[in-house]
Symmetry: C2
Subunit: 261 residues, 2 copies
Amino acid sequence: MEKGNHMDPTDFRKEVRRGNWDKPTAGVAPGYAQANLVILPRSAALDFLIFAQRNPKACPVIDVLEAGVIEAPSGKDSDIRRDIPRYRIYQKGKGHREVSSIEEVWQQDFVSFLLGCSFTFESELIKQGIPMKHIDLGRNVSMYQTNIPCNSAGSLSGEMVVSMRPIKSSQISKAVEISGRYPEVHGSPIHIGNPEAIGIEDINKPDYGDQVPIGEEEIPVFWPCGVTPQSVLKNSGVDFFITHAPGYMFVTDIKNEELGR
Amino acid sequence: MEKGNHMDPTDFRKEVRRGNWDKPTAGVAPGYAQANLVILPRSAALDFLIFAQRNPKACPVIDVLEAGVIEAPSGKDSDIRRDIPRYRIYQKGKGHREVSSIEEVWQQDFVSFLLGCSFTFESELIKQGIPMKHIDLGRNVSMYQTNIPCNSAGSLSGEMVVSMRPIKSSQISKAVEISGRYPEVHGSPIHIGNPEAIGIEDINKPDYGDQVPIGEEEIPVFWPCGVTPQSVLKNSGVDFFITHAPGYMFVTDIKNEELGR
């Protein structure tokens, strides 16, 4: 068992800050919600928050750090610049680079957004007897760029990114009901079966994450995904933004059950 | 029966725009959600949207109109500058004045927010056999400034305003459950009984709206109220903002049941 599996969120964030953790965060600090990160200069932040308000399934905001603030309300003594194991810094026309700290590029006008992450509902699905195949295979979840349009906001527009989990036909209804109780971590699926209908040409070639095989009794079930903002910000030509690297999340002090209803 | 009671939202908004409706909007376009309005210059809008995100029970955002936009996504062919029967224009140090149109003060950097309104859950409570005493008495609901602190955001801070409805002890549980299904229109009560505990000195002297007597078998039940932003923006010394006048709401195209879960 990994060391991170025994830590509480505060201790885990300290380990990350000390540079002792450079792996994905799946499974660490069990029972606590993890979060996607988006950081934008203040000038672009209002459009993004309106975008999130209009697309709550893809972008469920659980925390906002005002310009220049580094401690997340959902993480006591946290430092948003150093407490995620791997960040992506995007610059228009240059793609992105990955770093383990953003202290050196930090500006006082940076506004940070933490968005709910599917780890929370996955752990509830597993508890209730619905296996997560990608976890059993030790892989990252499969993610796809779709043709499902997001609701635009100001200068921001684009299509939704979804995550896919193969679910047995007999368990799909239960999976919908359980994940539906967690609207702040993407909620219920956006699409069930029929990948072509949402613009996925080859289900065996995910655009992000790993390939996960779909068994004979299984149907691919698609949930809105926290990678959507990265895709939309790129698509909309935003000059500069920072995110977490996929799978390397911010571990919050929020218990999973606090996000359920 | 009032003329407005037979109109759909689009027709009603046109009547308002023509200057043919200068009364509160309770009861018009039955079945459709009404909304509180807050308009701020773009420079103050991000703080307000973060404030709303942190105080979703008092400030449930159902719509945002980007800077300069006058048509609300939730109101086809609407004009946010003219479709509310009465507006309040606040200027720091000068209090407010009431007008029937804000066309003359409109600026291209104005961002408009529509917030869910309790009319939606009230109509559901009545349908399910819980009488709304203030409606039966033909009065406005009683509203009180409390000492319940809101979560601050940037320059914005203050205490919550609540609305009070006297409910029979035998029906309080049901009232909590029903209103709880409508999180986008303030959701479940914030406090039940014991007004002193939330800083209300005299339950017979509301700070806004009308006095409503509490019967022997009744307990005062308090819900977060859409007047909270007006109180917080004033308290925080914001230079300029516009709201609807209490009771004179924006009528949306959203059906009440769309806001339930």
